[in-house]
């Protein structure tokens, strides 16, 4: 979101580094925003590049499960809505790649890492969208969980990331609402439609709950992320907020959350333990659609190569004329 051409990292002597690090920590603690040309610790830069790139990749790969239903949307209205949503995800990916580029990486490097399978993206997109109700469940639960994660990121200490998140959050709430509306129609429809909505919730609930990442006791990045005000809440705090907000919405739909341990304690909806072994398996590449997603991205990239080459050739020719 900001010119990386203005970013000129300098090499510093050790004593300068410690003075700058102290100044940096003080600025972050005082809620000052860090901008691309400012000095920052290498670890802060690396943490941001990793997080923003993963986030960008998630937006791009996230187009695939829903793109699956574009040609089979049940009405022109639904098709228009879904097209707009998928287009938004592409836009979000682009905002985020731009934000990552301000840290001194190129979008090409990041895309290469995604296509090579060495970069991560949100595991949720390795689950298949089997029915039309899944499009609703993805909007309601997956985008709902994403909003829960992303709203605090609007206050992230790194300016370009925070600004990208402001734009994204503004658009994301349309995503969640269209999904909920879609599911409302199904849940209040025929018994078969209601069953289809229930089936979608059964399959998407736990993957959505796991979207917030491993429990705090096992999360390796929580402490530093919180100190540097990249994250504002821990994984478990966000997960609880999500469950508290979402359970009443499921009740409105007259759908049953697939968790026998779910119970209200007067303040929070207490929930059962997610299957973290499944989570680890999917993160490591062994989910239902990991291979399919990467093949789809690689194919799209390779199929588009001639367009990129032609665009460059056309621009070069116009300069000559």
């Amino acid at each position: 979101m900001c010119t990386q051409g203005l970013d000129q990292p300098r090499t510093l002597a050790a004593e300068d580094v410690s003075a700058r690090a102290e100044h940096f920590e003080a600025r972050v603690a005082a809620e000052d925003k860090i901008e691309p040309p400012d000095w920052m610790p290498d670890a802060y830069r690396a943490l941001l590049i990793r997080q923003i790139a993963q986030h960008a990749h998630s937006e791009i790969v996230g187009m695939l499960p829903e793109g699956n239903w574009l040609s089979r949307a049940p009405s022109l209205r639904r098709k228009g809505i879904l097209l707009a949503k998928v287009q938004d995800e592409a836009g979000h990916g682009l905002y985020l790649y731009s934000a990552a580029e301000t840290l001194g990486v190129t979008r090409d490097e990041l895309v290469d890492q995604l296509l090579a399978g060495t970069a991560k993206y949100s595991s949720i997109f390795n689950y298949p969208t089997l029915t039309w109700a899944d499009v609703g469940a993805v909007g309601w639960l997956v985008d709902g969980a994403a909003i829960m994660n992303q709203v605090p990121l609007c206050r992230c200490s790194y300016g370009p990331y925070a600004r990208a998140m402001v734009r994204i959050c503004r658009e994301e709430s349309f995503h969640q609402r269209q999904g909920f509306e879609l599911l409302t129609v199904l849940a209040q429809g025929t018994p078969a439609q209601h069953a289809m909505a229930q089936d979608a919730l059964d399959r998407w609930w736990w993957p959505a709950v796991m979207m917030f990442g491993p429990p705090d006791s096992e999360s390796t990045h929580n402490d530093r992320s919180l100190r540097w005000k990249v994250k504002r809440f821990t994984n478990d705090e966000l997960r609880q907020k999500f469950v508290d907000l979402t359970v009443p919405q499921a009740q409105f739909l007259a759908l049953t959350v697939p968790d026998p341990d779910l119970a209200y304690d007067g303040e929070h909806w207490r929930f059962g333990k997610p299957d973290w072994s499944e989570f680890k398996r999917v993160v490591k590449g062994d989910g239902p659609c990991n291979r399919e997603r990467l093949v789809a991205r690689r194919t799209a990239h390779e199929d588009g190569a001639w367009v990129r080459e032609a665009a460059v050739a056309h621009a070069a020719k116009r300069v000559l004329v």
């Binding site: 990386q4 051409g5 040309p37 731009s98 290469d112 990239h301 990129r308 621009a315």
Partner: protein, 95 residues
């Protein structure tokens, strides 16, 4: 795999949301030329009628002040330039 994209320059995007307001910087994007930058800027930054006018500027054309010089470049201690510096006596109105 990405050699063919090495030549895509970076553009800064400015949007005027409606007549009467200034163009504001909203972000950046890569494009081979000005026309593509303008088309992409429309798709990436104005999908919800945010714009009445768009500017795209090659990022390489932006000249920026050096953040290291921030204090000496901007640090004027001249509070008398602000109206709030002056005490208006009680009973005096319209100043």
């Amino acid at each position: 795999m990405t050699g063919e994209r090495a030549a895509w320059p970076l553009w800064e995007v400015f949007v005027r949301s409606r007549a009467g307001l200034a163009h504001q910087h909203v972000g950046s994007l890569h494009a081979v030329d000005a026309r593509m930058a303008l088309d992409n800027a429309r798709d990436v930054y104005t999908r919800r009628g945010e714009g009445a006018s768009l500017w795209v500027v090659p990022a390489s054309a932006v000249v920026a002040s050096d953040p290291a010089d921030k204090d000496s470049f901007f640090g004027l201690d001249e509070e008398f330039r602000h109206a709030s510096y002056y005490v208006v006596p009680d009973g005096v109105h319209g100043i």
